[in-house]
C-alpha cells in the first residue's frame, strides 16, 4: 500500500516489536514526543515505558546502556536524533559495540541498532546537517544501512532487527515525508544493491536521498540521449560491489553521487573499489560528485549548494560522456 518513509519505519519497528519482545526502543523524545521526526509516534501507548524508553540528553550513556542491554538479552534500538550527536557516543559505538565480539573471542555479540538521521535540507547548519556514514564504514564490526525508499526503509529495518551484530541505521531527514508503495513481501535486500534504473552509457552509484536526485537526473539525461544505470547500494556494509562492477564492466564509465563530503568519504572507497574490480573496463576515471569539503552553512541557498543537486548530477553525467 501507499505510505511514507516515516510510517514504513514505524511499521517495521511495530511488527518487529510485536514478534520479538526483547526489542526495546530508547532515545531522546522517542516516547511521549513520538520522536523528533515522528517515527515512533503512538508506540509508547502500545508498548509501554519499559520498551519505549524516553532518555535524558545523555548520548554517551544512551548508546552505552544499549550495548549492555544487547549483551544481556535485549535487542535495543538506540535512537540519536541527529547523527551529528554520535560524536558524543563514538567510544560506545566504535570501541565497544563494534569490537566486543572480537575482543571477547566470539563469546557474545552486540545485537543492537543505532538509529539516526543525517543530511541537509532544513537549514540545520553545521551541527545538524552532517553525513557521517564514512566513519562507520571505516569501523570493522558494524553494519551500515542507508535506505532510500519506503520499501527499503521497512525491509532494511526489519532485517536489521534480526542481525546478531550492531547496525548503524541512517535515515535522511529529507526523506521522512517521501511517499511510496510499501511492499512488505519484497525480497530480502540486506547487502544487495538495487539497479533502480537500467542504462548502458554509464553507471551511477549512490544511496539514501541522492538516489532520488540521481533518478531525476537520469531522466533528464535520457532526454538528451544519455542512458545512466542508477544503482542504489542500500547498505554500505555489507557492500555489494558485484552489482556495481558488473554494471561498470558493461558501461565502462562510473559516476558516484554521495551527500557526505568528498575527501575520505564514501565516494573514495567506491571509486577505489571500482578501480580494483573493473579497471580493465574503465574508459574514464570514476567521477565523484559528493558534498563539498565544508561545514554546512545555514543560509538556504548555500546549504543547497553544499551537496549534489539534480542539475549538477546531470552536468557530471554529461561531463563523463563528453568524449
Amino acid at each position: 500500500m501507499e505510505t511514507t518513509y516515516r510510517e514504513a519505519l514505524r511499521q517495521a519497528l511495530q511488527e518487529s516489536m510485536r514478534a520479538d519482545t526483547s526489542i526495546v526502543v530508547m532515545g531522546e523524545e522517542v516516547g511521549r514526543y513520538g520522536g523528533a521526526y515522528g517515527v515512533t509516534k503512538g508506540m509508547l501507548e502500545e508498548f509501554g515505558e519499559q520498551r519505549i524508553i524516553d532518555t535524558p540528553i545523555s548520548e554517551e550513556s544512551i548508546v552505552g546502556a544499549a550495548v549492555g542491554a544487547a549483551m544481556t538479552g535485549l535487542r535495543p534500538v538506540a535512537e540519536l536524533m541527529y547523527v551529528d550527536f554520535v560524536t558524543l557516543s563514538m567510544d560506545q559505538v566504535v570501541n565497544q559495540a563494534a569490537k566486543i565480539r572480537y575482543m571477547f573471542g566470539g563469546q557474545i555479540g552486540v545485537p543492537m541498532i543505532l538509529r539516526a538521521q543525517g543530511g541537509t535540507g532544513r537549514s540545520g547548519a553545521a551541527q545538524h546537517s552532517q553525513s557521517l556514514e564514512a566513519w562507520f564504514m571505516h569501523t570493522p564490526g558494524l553494519h551500515v544501512a542507508m535506505p532510500a525508499t519506503v520499501t527499503d526503509a521497512y525491509a532494511l529495518l526489519k532485517h536489521a532487527l534480526t542481525l546478531p551484530d550492531p547496525v548503524v541505521f541512517l535515515e535522511h531527514k529529507s526523506l521522512y515525508v517521501l511517499k511510496g508503495e510499501l511492499n512488505p513481501e519484497a525480497a530480502p535486500v540486506w547487502g544487495k544493491a538495487q539497479v533502480r534504473r537500467p542504462g548502458g552509457d554509464f553507471t551511477l552509484v549512490t544511496y539514501s536521498r541522492m538516489v532520488h536526485r540521481s533518478l531525476e537526473a537520469a531522466e533528464a539525461l535520457a532526454q538528451q540521449g544519455i542512458q545512466a544505470e542508477v544503482i542504489d547500494l542500500r547498505t554500505l556494509h555489507p557492500l555489494d560491489m558485484e552489482t556495481v562492477n558488473a554494471s561498470v564492466a558493461k558501461t565502462g564509465r562510473a559516476l558516484i553521487v554521495t551527500e557526505d563530503c568528498l575527501t575520505a568519504g564514501v565516494s573514495a572507497e567506491l571509486a577505489a573499489r571500482i578501480m580494483e574490480g573493473a579497471f580493465d573496463y574503465l574508459e574514464e576515471p570514476v567521477l565523484r560528485l559528493a558534498g563539498e569539503d565544508i561545514p554546512i552553512p545555514v543560509a538556504a541557498d548555500l546549504e543547497a549548494a553544499s551537496v549534489p543537486s539534480t542539475e549538477r548530477i546531470v552536468a557530471a553525467g554529461k561531463l563523463l560522456m563528453r568524449r
Partner: protein, 342 residues
Amino acid sequence: MSQKSRHIYRQLLRIRTFEERVGELFVRGGTAGSMLHLSIGEESGAVGVGEAMRPGDSFTTHHRGHGIFLARGADPQRMMAEIGGKLTGYCRGKGGSMHIADMGLGHLGANAIVGGGITHVVGAGMSYRNHQTGAVSVAFFGDGAMQQGGFYESMNLAALWKLPVMFVCINNEYGMGTRLDRASASLEFVRRAETFGLVGAEVDGLDAEAVQETASGLLEQARSGQPAFLKVNCYRFHGHARMDKSPYRDDAEEQQGRQKDCVVFQRKRLLGLGVSEAECDQVVAEVAQEMDAAMQFALDSEAPPMESIYDDVYAPGQPKPESVEARMRQAMHSPILSGEEA
C-alpha cells in the same frame, strides 16, 4: 533605584519583543529554517546575569541564547539578520540562530550541541588566569544539559584549577517534550555542584533584579577563583522550536507556567515605584519600533554570495577547499562543467 529598574524592564522587554519578531519573521518566511528556539519566559536569566557581568567577561550559550546575547549588548539588527541567514548577520549568514557569536562582545558562541559550549568557558578561564585579565567566563545552558556528562567534567576542572568561571543553568522545566523530573532522578543541582567544589545558588526567575543580585555575588566569587553554579528557575512559555505545539503538556500547566512572567512582574514593580502606565507604554512602543526595525533589516538584507561558501573553512591565506566540480573537471581534463557547454 527606579532608574535601574526601568533599565531592567526595558532589557526584559527587548528580549521578549525580539523573540516575538523572530516568530513573526519565521511566519513571513524570512528565517533560515525553523530550528528557532525562543527564550520567551526566560528573560530574567539573561538580563539578571547579563547585567551582573562586566565588560571583558565572556560567555557561551545554548541553542536558546538570543536573549542572553541581547542582554550583553547585541545589535538586534545583526542578530535578526543572522537568524535570517543574511550576509549582514553576526556570522555572515553561515551560522544562523544556533551559532550566533561575537568576539567583540565576548560572545564565544551559541551552540547547537546540548552542552557543547559548557567546557569552552573552562578554557577561557584558563586564558584569563594565565593572562590575569580579571575576566570571568560564563556558560549558559538549559536544564537538559544537566544530564550531559561533559558538564560534570567541566565543573571539576574549573574547581580543580580555581578558574574564574560560572555555570548558569536556565531551568525552563523542559527539554523538548521531557519535563525535568522525567530527565533527572534528583533535582538537588546546587548541592550537586557543591560536591564538585563549586559554590552554588538557585533563584526564582520571576524577579530579574533578584537574579542579578544573586548572580553578582557568585560572579565575584568566580572572579576570585572560586567557580560558581547558578540555577535560574523559569518556564518555557512556548514550544521547543517553531514547529512544536507542546502537545505533551496540558493547557492548565501552561497557563500556570506562564503566570511566572518576569516582564509583567518588572512592570508591576515600576508601577509600584511610581512610574506611570504611560511611561511604561512608552518603553513598549520604543522597543517595538527597535525590533520592527531589526526584523525589517533582516528582510532587507542580502543572502551571502555563493562564492562565500568556501570562505572561512580555513583562515584567510590558507588554501580554500577545492570544489567538487573543479575536481571532476581536472579528472576529465575539461575546462568547464555545465549543462550547456559539456
